[in-house]
């Protein structure tokens, strides 16, 4: 009897035919949405609208409705901004970097991870806009020709670099995501029966016909965009970190920030992907496509980046002492033992200790545990940004100006609101878009030979 060793765990479980894949992905779009979807969408919409209300109140009244003060000019606004941008890192990393590295397991998750990225970057982009005292003249950050005595932007300012970095990242991610969606939209179009849906999906699919030439171009464009997007994965958060690293504030002025921020971003992004996918695979019956193996791979990424982040935290502490700079030393002492010690230790617990548990195989393959840790990591990463921003400026150089930050209910409302809006977008995505890159997934489907091998007929003959 012939023995065959299983080299790798299969990426798609069970005996799925090409048609099964199409069916599995298109079913949620074609069927009536389940009750649960409406409930979740309703909740997200209400929270999102509350957030919109808070933003409108903020715009109508002034930044004073937040809990900022003369010493603390940024707090939840920029914390949320960096948090969302960080979350928005996983998608492009998965689709671009893993594409270049030919990691096939990415195919099951890249579509929704990218969608998450785009929605997260939307949410992130909102904060730099609304944190401006005068949003209505916010377009001045763009280097537009003008008649204000030909006023130009200040290219020295990291905030300006942010504008470029975020907008580039958003547009490239959006294009990359959309290109991937085209063949899948065509599949849905071809199956659609209702005229409106058919019309909509045919517009969205840009007249894709599935010819070999189309596929050829599709592959080329994907590769080019992956090449373009890869540096962006690293540049965006590096530039966000420059907001702090180029300043003179102890605790911000840190050369370690760019790599530390990028790792932190990947760390939190993967955690968010886990949070979303673990729910989605269950709700949409995609267990065969997204399973323990995928979760384990992602957990390893979380473990590695979490360790890097932890190392960065400890390096910062060491440098603050080793530098001998009074203010630097105090800034870090104050983080750990000052009035915001609880934020610091929440961050340390969530970000340094929890990913280390992933060394245990049993835990990193446990879906429940992964879900729990993914939430813990994102709480930890929110605190990381809060610690960096608020605990550094609340006690910087001049003790007479030292202050404390207390969030107002508008601070909280805007933050919760963005989470609501994010889920509004994501739920709409899950309802109307193919959540799996179905045409790509088909490429990793085991061949019919494998199916035959595992079929009863095969055993009969041997």
């Amino acid at each position: 009897m012939q023995k065959e060793a299983v080299i790798r765990e299969p990426l798609i479980l069970g005996h799925k035919s090409y048609h099964d894949v199409t069916e599995d992905v298109c079913r949620p779009i074609e069927d009536k949405a389940p009750r649960m979807w409406y409930i979740l969408f309703g909740i997200a919409l209400i929270i999102g609208l509350y957030g919109v209300g808070c933003i409108l109140y903020l715009l109508g009244t002034g930044i004073g409705v937040w809990g900022l003060n003369k010493t603390i000019g940024w707090a939840w606004d920029i914390t949320n901004f960096v948090w969302w941008v960080g979350i928005g890192h996983a998608g492009t990393l998965i689709s671009a970097v893993l594409l270049l590295f030919r990691q096939k397991w990415r195919m099951a998750i890249n579509r929704s991870a990218e969608a998450m990225t785009i929605f997260a970057v939307f949410m992130a982009g909102l904060f730099p806009l609304i944190h401006m005292g005068r949003l209505w003249v916010g377009y001045w950050v763009l280097p537009l020709p003008n008649q204000f005595g030909s006023l130009w932007v200040n290219f020295n300012s990291p905030l300006l670099w942010d504008v470029f970095a975020i907008s580039t990242y958003l547009s490239v991610s959006l294009v990359f995501w959309y290109i991937g969606l085209i063949p899948d939209f065509a599949t849905i179009r071809d199956r659609a029966k209702k005229p409106v849906a058919k019309k909509m999906y045919s517009i969205l699919s840009f007249g894709w016909s599935g010819r070999a030439k189309h596929w050829n171009r599709f592959e080329t464009v994907s590769l080019v965009l992956a090449g373009l997007a890869t540096p962006l994965v690293f540049s965006v958060h590096s530039i966000v970190s420059f907001d702090f690293a180029t300043s003179v504030i102890p605790g911000w002025h840190t050369t370690i920030f760019p790599p530390y921020f990028v790792c932190g971003a990947v760390f939190s992004g993967f955690a968010m992907v886990q949070t979303l996918l673990l729910v989605m695979r269950k709700a949409m019956g995609l267990e065969a496509y997204i399973h323990t193996k995928h979760v384990e791979y992602m957990n390893i990424v979380i473990m590695v980046t979490g360790s890097i982040v932890g190392t960065a935290y400890i390096t910062e502490l060491f440098i603050s002492w080793y530098s001998g700079v009074e203010y630097e030393a105090y800034a870090f002492l104050n983080r750990a033992t000052g009035p915001y010690w609880w934020a610091y230790w929440s961050m340390m617990t969530c970000n340094v200790i929890s990913p280390q548990l992933m060394w245990i195989r049993k835990l990193r393959r446990s879906l429940m545990f992964t879900f729990f840790i993914s939430i813990v990591v994102n709480i930890g990463m929110w605190f990381e940004r809060y610690v960096i921003i608020v605990t550094s400026i609340h006690r910087d150089y001049v003790p007479a100006a030292w202050s404390m930050h207390y969030p107002s209910h508008i601070d909280i409302g805007v933050y919760i609101g963005t989470i609501g809006l994010f889920f509004v977008f994501f739920l709409l995505f899950a309802r109307y878009f193919p959540v799996l890159a179905l045409n790509e997934v088909k490429t990793i489907l085991k061949g019919s030979g494998q199916s035959y091998k595992e079929s009863p007929d095969y055993h009969k003959h041997h």
């Binding site: 009244t61 002034g62 930044i63 004073g64 809990g67 900022l68 003060n69 003369k70 010493t71 603390i72 000019g73 940024w74 730099p128 944190h131 401006m132 005292g133 005068r134 003249v137 916010g138 001045w140 950050v141 204000f148 006023l151 130009w152 932007v153 200040n154 020295n156 300012s157 990291p158 905030l159 300006l160 504008v163 907001d243 180029t246 300043s247 003179v248 504030i249 009074e326 105090y330 002492l333 104050n334 033992t337 400026i393 006690r395 910087d396 150089y397 001049v398 003790p399 007479a400 100006a401 030292w402 202050s403 404390m404 207390y406």
Partner: protein, 1071 residues
């Protein structure tokens, strides 16, 4: 079926006229020639010229209405008034006197509006001495709640009607009492004198004049009467005192004529003088509360009010005098007392002892001590006595008791006083006023007393009226109006004259007071030129040397009682006795010591608070514990504020709060406001006043020390303070302090070392080089080219009075944000005064005792009786400004004169600049302060009248933009323009910023740093000059000068030594 509609009956009836008219499309065909040739045209009401005017107006109105911001009240000058040039300020020399403070001032007017007040440094005896209340008083002029006209029984009447009523009341009254604050006006005294002479029944006058001061100095006069035979207040000269001992007298802020003393004191606090063969005074303060004077003292002892006598006795006995009182000095003042005694012994007649108590016994002891020292004739001048505070406590109390008993005069005139609020038995007095037939108030507000009066004839604001003053026999001063009266008020002097039949009203442009003052002037200066005196605001009078008063001892009785808890009632620099409690600038001015705004509270030493279980820290959300203080059966509940330096077993409470408690309309800003705007309304349906009135705690002889009890009650109260961290955490590059001996004997390196970094030298060795040699950036081209504006602030001279802060607010249209916003850390002051207490970890403020064992957590706590440093801080105009690089839209940029400029129009409000400012001096417009409802009650810019105080040279900022100190760029520009027009360069000292202008001790020097002969350049190169946070490398244009205390501090001296050269330097030869 069609319906037909008629235009009128004519059409229905088809009258011939109608048919005729229907034919013509245009009803009347009158040609232009025909129309114009009509003879009757001229008889119509609309003349051709009028028509053109209407036409022109309509076009103008239409185009104006089309503009975004229509000019609604523009009054053009058809004929240019003399001295008024649009856009150019006109300055008037005048004199300020409000019953407690006196000073020579200069008033800046723009387009006829007074907008800024500063001390007059050229004329008068106060040499530019001011306090925050004087500077802020300009805002009171534009208070919309000032009384606008006369009233009888609360109903507005014309002035003539009131005059008639008053004249008849004066006639019919059996006895008339005029109760006023101290009148130092020779003209007013003359007018009152004539009234006293004229109002008589059968030769005996039925008129009495009682002088009443809210805070009394009667005991000093009484003591001088007993010791010298004259009930006078002497003149003190702090500039002649080498040794100053103050027993509870806050002579730099509120005590007697502090405006004069602050400048005198400041002139002797410059340690460079000592090096030049002059001398620096040595200041000892013994007090219960931490006062401004105490915070500046070289030595400060904490004593209870009841221990003041013992301290005085200790000195008397130490100097060989006889004293029956035990000389037991408490341990908390022992060191200071010992040093003070040896200093007094050394300086003898060049010493000065002052005592702030209104207790006759203590003042007698003080006199005995001064006479032992021989200070009379050197630092104390009995000849040229001070005319302030002439109130006689006994007379006032007798009068009040009579009124309360219903046996007093049947007509009372109140002038410049508010006894219902300030009398210890004010409430009873107020109740009794109803029983008095005629009560007349001359107050400018419907205050506590006025609302209970039957008649009100509001006085002008000081800036609207003529006045004259003689604060000392040697000095005559004039106050001139700087604006035509805004309302239908009348000058008090004119009123007295009119009511006595000596003059008649002449409306707003009345010359009555002016002529009367001129008459007085003519008697004082028979050959004087009144116009010249008015121009300078004052004139000196030679006082004939009187026979020297000789000291004779007097028995000492009734010294302050001791108790388990002694309560001290004090005046805050901003609020004083509460006369200007409605002034939002003053309410929002952080108290120089506690840094709290908009409230009064109980001050207690945190060491004691820990023991008694009170919380000792506070911030935006964490309030302070409430406690009830009971004195003489009266109780007040207030938060307990942790104030280091408060003597143990004593508490302090500020006077001047709790105004308008019965809903009196004393001003918009005098009440507590809510988080989203509007007033806080109490259970009684009235507006909740700010703080609580504690005048009732004063004893019946007006002593401000009392014995009471304190009991913690449930609940906390949030305090709005601008500073919640009180120590400098041993940061030597922010505050530097040294002793006079170290300064004189040692190198700069010992007490003011430059920051160094290691640099590789040519041989490849590390070398310590000053921070100034390191640079990441290209230098701005400001050095040695054109102007470069710089400033030095002398921490030794700065007394922390807060005048600069209010002057800056006044000059730069800084919005008032109210208590709730200050509590949230959002006050808008461009200039703040950081106040640091030394901790037990520091040998002096900012100097760590031991670098190895230094503990941050211990350094957060102030010492029990800490040393204090006041540090004014504004934008440092860094040449490598961190704010400039981070602004994405280049809204903050560097000028080629070294200024860090803020372009409001360009600002999009990212606040990145504020975060990146190491000094944290940038202020963000969190709301639209000139219009948002939260600030209606507090921000004067939201009031049509209040807006008049705005400086037209400075933009009012909108919401969402950043602002900060501009170095008064508008003043720089105008100074440059003046120089340019005169074809010359700017003269050193010509430019003054609002803060340097206001500083009574000349601690702030501004000028052109590129001018190597300028005083700012010299000052910045002094041994004491340093740049705060120099090592950050931002290269500021502001220098501080090391605070020098004239004390012996062995620990500090042992730390501040010149460090040995680094070892590799020494080993150089071996390489």
């Amino acid at each position: 079926m069609t319906r037909k509609y008629w235009k009128g009956l004519e059409e229905l009836k088809e009258t011939p006229e109608f048919i005729k008219q229907r034919e013509n499309e245009f009803p009347s065909q009158v040609s232009v020639e025909e129309f114009l040739s009509d003879d009757k045209l001229n008889e119509t009401s609309t003349a051709r010229r009028d028509f053109l005017k209407f036409l022109g107006f309509s076009v103008a109105a239409a185009s104006l209405a089309a503009c975004e911001a229509p000019v609604t009240r523009a009054v053009p000058y058809v004929i240019k008034p003399e001295n008024v040039t649009l856009g150019m300020p006109t300055w008037y020399a005048s004199t300020y006197y409000d019953g407690s403070s006196y000073t020579s001032i200069l008033v800046k007017t723009r387009e006829g509006r007074p907008i800024f007040i500063k001390g007059n440094k050229d004329f008068g005896i106060t040499k530019g001495g001011v306090n925050p209340q004087i500077i802020a008083s300009v805002l009171g002029l534009y208070d919309s709640e000032r009384l606008k006209n006369a009233s009888i029984g609360g109903v507005d009447v014309t002035q003539s009607k009131l005059d008639a009523a008053v004249i008849s009341a004066l006639k019919s009254a059996k006895k008339v009492t005029l109760i006023s604050n101290t009148v130092i006006s020779p003209s007013m005294n003359r007018a009152i004198g004539t009234m006293a002479a004229d109002l008589n029944v059968n030769g005996a006058t039925k008129f009495e004049h009682i002088t009443y001061d809210a805070v009394s100095y009667s005991a000093m006069r009484e003591a001088n009467l007993q010791n010298f035979g004259a009930a006078i207040l002497p003149s003190y000269d702090f500039s002649k005192a080498k040794s100053i001992v103050s027993i509870g007298a806050d002579f730099l802020s509120t005590w007697l004529m502090a405006t004069e003393y602050a400048a005198q004191y400041g002139s002797r606090r410059n340690p460079e003088k000592e090096a030049e063969g002059e001398w620096m005074s040595k200041h000892f303060q013994f007090e219960s509360n931490m006062s401004i004077s105490g915070s500046n003292a070289d030595y400060r002892g904490m004593i209870k009010p009841s221990e003041q006598a013992a301290v005085l006795s200790y000195f008397i006995k130490g100097l060989g005098g006889a004293c029956a009182i035990a000389a037991t000095v408490p341990a908390s003042a022992e060191k200071a007392a010992k040093e003070a005694l040896s200093s007094l012994k050394k300086n003898k007649k060049n010493a000065l002892v002052v005592c702030g108590s209104n207790n006759v016994g203590l003042q007698l002891l003080t006199n005995q001590l001064n006479s032992l020292l021989g200070s009379y004739g050197t630092t104390i001048d009995l000849n040229n006595d001070l005319k302030l505070f002439q109130g006689d406590d006994k007379k006032v109390q007798a009068f009040a008791n009579q009124v309360i008993a219903g046996k007093g005069s049947d007509m009372i005139i109140f002038m410049g006083v508010n006894p219902v609020y300030t009398l210890p038995n004010g409430a009873a007095f107020g109740k009794a006023l109803k029983g008095v037939k005629t009560t007349l108030s001359l107050s400018a507000y419907a205050d506590e007393t006025t609302t209970l009066c039957s008649h009100a004839s509001p006085d002008h604001h000081a800036l609207e009226s003529w006045n004259d003053f003689q604060v000392k026999p040697s000095h005559y001063a004039v106050a001139q109006p700087t604006i035509r009266p805004l309302h239908d008020t009348t000058s008090a002097l004119e009123s007295i004259l009119v009511w006595n039949g000596k003059a008649s009203r002449a409306g707003k442009d009345s010359n009555v007071a002016y002529d009367y003052i001129k008459e007085t002037y003519a008697t004082l200066f028979p050959s004087g030129d009144f116009a010249y005196t008015t121009h300078n605001s004052c004139e000196n009078i030679t006082v004939a040397a009187a026979a020297a008063l000789t000291y004779k001892s007097a028995p000492i009785t009734n010294l302050p009682k001791s108790g388990a808890l002694e309560v001290i009632l004090y005046q805050k620099a901003a609020i004083g006795t509460g006369a200007q409690a409605n002034n939002p600038w003053l309410q929002e001015m952080p108290d120089p010591i506690t840094k709290a705004t908009w409230d009064n509270y109980i001050t207690m030493n945190p060491v004691e608070m820990e023991k008694l279980g009170y919380v000792t820290t506070y911030d935006q959300e964490h309030g302070l514990d409430l406690a009830t203080v009971t004195v003489n059966g009266l109780s007040v509940t207030l938060p307990v504020y942790p104030l280091p330096g408060q003597a143990i077993n004593t508490i302090g409470i500020a006077l001047g709060y709790g105004r308008g408690a019965n809903g009196e309309k004393i001003g918009k800003a005098a009440f507590q406001t809510k988080e989203y705007g509007g007033y806080e309304v109490g259970e009684n349906g009235l507006h909740v006043p700010i703080g609580a009135n504690v005048f009732a705690f004063a004893s019946s002889n007006f002593e401000l020390e009392a014995v009471g009890t304190i009991k913690k009650v449930d609940g906390t109260y949030k305090i709005a303070a601008t500073q919640i961290h009180h120590t400098v955490m041993g940061r030597h590059s922010i505050v530097r302090e040294t002793t006079l001996d170290t300064f004189l004997a040692k190198d700069k390196e010992a007490y003011n070392p430059a920051h160094t970094l290691q640099k590789l030298n040519k041989e490849g060795h590390h070398e310590e080089r000053p921070v100034s040699e390191f640079d990441l950036w290209d230098a701005h081209p400001v050095e040695k080219i054109g102007h470069r504006w710089g400033m030095t602030i002398d921490l030794s001279s700065c007394i922390g009075c807060g005048s600069c802060l209010v002057a800056c607010q006044s000059e730069n249209n800084v919005p008032v944000v109210g208590k709730d916003e200050v509590r949230r850390g959002r006050e808008m002051h461009w200039l703040r005064i950081d106040r640091y207490f030394a901790s037990d970890e520091e040998a002096a403020v900012g100097q760590r005792k031991d670098k190895e064992t230094f503990s941050y957590s211990k350094a957060e706590l102030a010492a029990e009786n800490p040393k204090v440093v006041h540090m004014p801080l504004m934008c440092h105009h860094c040449n490598h400004a961190p704010c400039e690089t981070v602004c994405p839209v280049a809204a903050t940029t560097h000028s080629n004169e070294g200024l860090n400029q803020m372009t409001y129009n360009r600002c999009i409000g990212t606040r990145y600049c504020a975060n990146n400012c190491p000094y944290k001096v940038r202020r963000f417009n969190w709301f639209n302060y000139p219009s948002y409802k939260k600030f209606t009650e507090v921000n004067p810019a939201q009031d049509d009248l209040g807006r008049m105080v705005l400086n037209p040279d400075v933009t009012v900022r909108t919401r969402g933009v950043m602002e900060k100190c501009s170095f008064c760029v508008q003043r720089i520009q105008s100074t440059k323009l003046v120089a340019k027009k005169e074809a010359r360069t700017i003269i050193d000292g010509e430019l003054a910023t609002a803060c340097s202008d206001a500083c009574p001790t000349n601690a702030i020097i501004v000028g052109d740093w590129n001018d190597s002969k300028s005083s700012v350049f010299a000052s910045s190169n002094s041994k004491r000059a340093y740049q705060a946070l120099e090592e950050v490398g931002v290269k500021p244009n502001v220098w501080y000068k090391v605070k020098v205390r004239n004390e012996v501090n062995e620990l500090l001296s042992s730390i501040q030594v010149v460090k040995e050269a680094p070892h590799h330097e020494k080993k150089k030869g071996q390489h």
